[in-house]
């Protein structure tokens, strides 16, 4: 075999384990989902194989699905905004601290060692009727009856922020950490105050990280079903809960498939828009 042929083969040999996994664990199941979405579940509960557009017609015309989709996007947007406002200063602090950078990053990663579900459920122990907050408030005598704080949209957003904040901080941190510290000094020496230097130089240069973090928070937030399940009330279902409901509870795989594909397309379009303007490279940096 010639040297060229060997060199041409090498990347494929190295990629083959990953490609195999992606093909069989991601691509093939996705094809199944697409096929399922055109099947039909009859009134008896049996699945009718074929090419039916009934599921898609229902998903695309029923206002119920549209409203929940819009509500899901709204919750994801609010969560992203809160994460950005809370995460940026934290990331800035970590990026500018010299001695403890590694330690602070480790602390940031620490929550990932505990299951996301456990972390979400911990809020019940904090905000629940017999949770830490109510118990404390009754003990010091500020309130007599426990306040019902859980199971509404606010607690869903709270849970999502808790879950997604580290992703935002990490992405912004990577961006800020890559900015030459001399740039701010240069701006200061030219007459800009610290705030002006931040607005003129650091903030614009860190926008790619902020955008990458926002995309991650939005996509992960919009796709979640655990948080509304654990911390939301009956009216706080998000779109992924509909998929869960259709597939797990009703065993209606064709409808669940159509619903999940719809969410996939909406979020996919968002990622494409992001990629068009900012490129995926920044996102990869933040994840790496």
């Amino acid at each position: 075999m010639s040297v060229e042929a060997r060199e041409a083969r090498q990347p494929w040999i190295l990629l083959s384990p990953a490609l195999t996994a992606v093909t069989f664990l991601l691509f093939v199941p996705l094809v199944f989902i697409v096929i399922y979405s055109f099947w039909l579940r009859t009134a008896t509960g049996a699945e009718q194989v074929g090419f039916y557009l009934d599921n898609w017609r229902e998903v695309l015309t029923d206002r119920f699905y549209r409203d929940i989709l819009l509500n899901t996007l709204k919750i994801a947007a609010i969560t992203t905004l809160v994460c950005a406002l809370m995460g940026y200063p934290a990331a800035y602090f970590i990026a500018r601290s010299n001695a403890n950078k590694a330690m602070l990053l480790l602390l940031l990663m620490l929550p990932f060692w505990i299951s996301y579900i456990i972390r979400t459920m911990s809020w019940i122990n904090i905000l629940g009727v017999s949770g830490a907050f109510n118990t404390f408030m009754i003990w010091i005598g500020i309130i007599d009856e426990p306040i019902q704080m859980l199971y509404n949209e606010t607690t869903v957003i709270l849970g999502l922020v808790h879950f997604l904040l580290p992703f935002m901080v990490l992405n912004v941190f990577v961006s800020l950490d890559g900015i030459d510290i001399n740039l701010e000094d240069a701006a200061n020496s030219l007459g800009a105050t610290r705030w002006q230097a931040f607005v003129q130089v650091t903030l614009p240069l860190s926008l790619p990280g902020l955008a990458a973090g926002s995309l991650l928070c939005f996509v992960l937030g919009a796709g979640t079903y655990i948080t509304p399940l654990v911390l939301g009330g009956p009216t706080d279902a998000m779109f992924a809960n509909l998929v869960f409901e259709a597939i797990i509870t009703q065993l209606n795989w064709p409808l669940g498939s159509a619903l999940s594909l719809m969410l996939l397309v909406v979020l996919g379009v968002l990622v494409l828009i992001y990629n068009r303007y900012l490129g995926m490279a920044q996102l990869m940096k933040g994840l790496g």
């Binding site: 740039l183 020496s189 030219l190 007459g191 240069l205």
Partner: protein, 357 residues
Amino acid sequence: MSSVTLKNIVKRFGSFTAVHRSSLEIAEGAFVTLLGPSGCGKTTNLRMIAGLLDPTEGEILIGGRRVNDVPIHKRNLGLVFQNYALFPHKTVAENVAFGLKYRDIPAAEIPDRVQSALDLVQLPDVGERYPKALSGGQQQRIALARAIVIEPDVLLLDEPLSALDANLREDMRVELKRIQARIGVTTVFVTHDQSEALAMSDQIVVMSAGKVEQVGAPEEVYNTPASEFVANFLGASNILDGRCTDRGGGTVTIEAPIFGRLSIPAEKAPNLAGEGAAKLVVRAEKLVLSTSEAGEGAVSVPATVETVDYQGQAVRYFVRAGETQLQAINMIDEHPFAEGSAVHLHLRPQDCAGLPG
């Protein structure tokens, strides 16, 4: 344009003292170089003048005004960094115009000022481009234009040439000096490169381990080093332990191994008070290898060439005379001496300098 004064400056980082108590006077319009190896405190001094660091003790005056409590953005200084520090998201013209926005300059005047700054650094046509489209040397010129367009009181240059290729560095050195002379701005230049310091400065401040070793004009610092450190840091020197036997009549007599008794001009050994231990400093390029004995006015010592380090127009020899190894840098006349050749070392006493032992 202003003078800069450092009065009894001390800078400590925790328990580490980066700059020991020192004072420095930089005249208006002068080009002063802080020279020393890394960690000697030269950059710390520069950053204190810039306002990026606060001195632990002492006063900093710019144009006679105390600036310790003046924040960096109000000091009106031009700062140029080793890594250029151009704003990558702004065009060259926007970079140069950056400092003008914070000054009372009519908006209509800004493009003209930017253009004349770009003309001055001989890059008149790159205003619309982004920094990353320019070479390192060009980026450093833009950084210089950005620093001088605001007409700073003092120009601070932090190893501005160190990131450039060797050839470009020498061109930029001439260019930088030309621009500085043209606008006449007081300039503080930090470098670890002795040839940059010698070529560009009106005054050199040699620093070591947070202390000022010597302040003087390039020739003075080079020819009459005030300490062994300075003699070794600027150029290659042979330093021999000897004894001062006499001082008077405009000469100092030093008795050193190999060369014996030498009478050197008193101004070449200003710190040598009189009899006692002394060091003889012999510049490598003042030690001349020859096949014959020296004539009148020079001493001649037989030696053997041990190592030949060929450098093109010059050659560096390591020679052995008795027990002592010496180095000599000579221009090449036809062919360099071969390793192992027996030669005579010629040395004129007036080319030596003396230090206290």
